[in-house]
Amino acid sequence: MTALQYIIDGIALGSVYALVAVGLALVFGVMRLVNFAHGELITAAAYTLYLTASWPKVFALAMSLLVAVALALLMELVVFRRLRYAPPATALIATFAVAFALEAVWLIAFGPQGKSADVLSSLNQTATHGKLHIRWVTITMVGVGAALLAGTGVLLNRTRIGLEMRAAAADFRAARLLGVRANRVIGTAFVLGGLFAGVVALLLTASQPLVTPTFGLQVTILALVGVVVGGMDRLVSATLGGFAIGFANSLLGDVLPSSQGVFLTSFLYLLVIVVLVLRPGGLFVPGGAAARVERV
């Protein structure tokens, strides 16, 4: 039974990381930008939940999603749009700089101590079945994650904007020559990224309501590691990579003896290195190393 428990916990955390991974991979797909500032969208949404704690829940949730989407668009408009043709390293460091500046904003506005955003804490109650203890938030994570991923799949495969986004991800310049509007696809990618970041903030605060200035950064870094391990060039492999790292993180936390528990990070990253060396093109990319492209 405990094995089943571990697996369910792993799937829940994996779903959350998969949502972060999709946000990162969508933006990377259309503009080849590794967005470290993605985590600040999560943090922004989480702080919005704290600020709107007295509002009716529906409004508070809607507001936090809105803030994340607006901030995502603002980032794109003010900074990333101007760096579309800059060297990849420059764009990468610019996302650091944005993350750095926003983190300073959270620090000034909310202080280094955490603020509690327990809008959805009722989800923390446990449903017990036999020896199995499942928090409602676990079920919500899996459900919401699956629904949103399915929605993304439909959007990308069944709509015009989805087709345009896939075209832009395959070859941005050729897509533009065929009439795909750059600002439209990039804008959509950032809107979706912001939306997913907002949802991730809801799910994370439901299980752990304390919001600190680095709330989103930690999750984003690990998700990014997962995305690269899975294979960044494709949305599906990137999402699976995100899921895998969340799952592995949760599972390692459960199975490591408590004396070794503090070294969880080491075990996880060691696993990452081994996988990367064996499958540098991505764990979930068919053909593996053969199809890889060299890039900075």
Binding site: A86, A89, T90, I93, A97, L102, P280, E294, V296
Partner: protein
């Protein structure tokens, strides 16, 4: 390598800048002196980064692990043996009963940084692009995790303190200049040239027989050793260190220094490091209130990071190739520039 006027200028300009920072550091008050020492130590770290990143074009997120190893090794081995058992009772007996001097500790820091980089680089240098960046980041994560929790090799989550503060402006300058000389020689060596060729076009380079992995490994090991040296300088500057001081923030900040200066030239690395480092220190002072020539400046607490972040973003927006444009100093760049700029 023939010593030409061009080579002399390319080496002389960053060297002069470092010397100037040291001289000003010797002249100002003791409180401000730390800012200039920090600039030199940061310059050493960024030069180390440049040896690998600048020449190979692969972004490494892992170099601060070599700084961390250097800092903890140099710090641990220079604390007096009398106090070690009290502050770190769980240490390996060998580490507990031996101590070394200042200069040997810096050599040790460099040796450890270089050796670890060589061993880790052997498998990692087969990777390129983002996979390589993330793999080096994983190294940083592991280093930080192990240093924080393994109390047999260090203070664990505690602060490593009571380290002799031997890094003054002069020692910092010597360290930075050693790094600069090694970086310059590597830049002009056969391996350095081949690696830059591979940076510009990996397929063409491979086609003419360049063994990219091997040259990347050489650059990685050299830059690991220089990063270790920088770590030794750092711990002897501040006299104490925690694992979080040599983790994510320092990684982001030093990478930003490199890119803002211009990551494809040694001159850019030094300019970026000195410039951003001094700006960072200045803003930190401004939070407590500082005099600027004629008037008093005080910014709200916490605002220094915000201003630094915004200024870094602005610098990148207007100079995507860095302040120096990624070029070395040359006579023509000192005169009026004619003709199209390199993208």
């Amino acid at each position: 390598m023939r010593i030409t006027r061009k080579a002399l200028l390319e080496f002389g300009a960053p060297a002069l800048l470092l010397v100037a920072v040291c001289v000003i550091g010797e002249l100002v008050s003791v409180g401000t002196q730390q800012d200039f020492i920090s600039a030199l130590v940061n310059a050493t770290i960024v030069i180390a980064l440049w040896v690998f990143i600048g020449n190979s074009g692969v972004i490494s997120f892992g170099h601060i692990s070599f700084v961390a190893l250097g800092a903890f090794a140099a710090g641990l081995m220079t604390i007096e043996t009398i106090v070690k058992p009290n502050v770190m009772p769980n240490l390996f007996p060998f580490l507990q009963h031996h101590s070394i001097g200042n200069v040997p500790s810096l050599v040790l820091a460099a040796a450890i940084g270089g050796l670890v980089a060589l061993v880790l680089g052997a498998p990692l240098m087969r990777l390129s692009g983002l996979s390589a960046s993330i793999a080096t980041f994983a190294v940083l994560g592991i280093t930080n995790n192990v240093l924080t929790y393994w109390e047999k090799i260090g203070p664990g989550a505690q602060t490593l303190s009571l380290v002799p503060e031997t890094t003054g402006p002069f020692q910092a300058l010597v360290g930075a200049l050693i790094a600069l000389v090694i970086a310059f020689v590597y830049q002009h060596s056969r391996s350095g040239r081949l690696l830059r060729a591979a940076r510009e076009d990996p397929h063409a380079a491979r086609a003419i027989g360049v063994r990219i992995e091997r040259h990347r490994l050489v650059a990685f090991a050299i830059s690991g050793a220089l990063a270790g040296l920088a770590g030794g300088l750092l711990v002897h500057q501040i006299g104490s260190i925690t694992t979080n001081q040599v983790y994510l923030d320092l990684t982001f900040l030093t990478l930003a220094m490199l890119v803002i200066g211009g990551m494809s030239s040694l001159w850019g690395a030094v300019v970026g490091a000195v410039g951003v480092s001094l700006l960072d220190s200045f803003l930190e002072h401004a939070e407590n209130g500082t005099g600027v020539i004629f008037f008093h400046l005080k910014i709200p607490s916490g605002a220094s990071l915000l201003i630094l972040g915004v200024l870094m973003a602005v610098a990148l927006l207007f100079r995507p190739n860095g302040i120096t444009g990624g070029r070395e100093v040359s006579l023509s760049s000192l005169r009026l520039r004619v003709g199209p700029r390199r993208a």
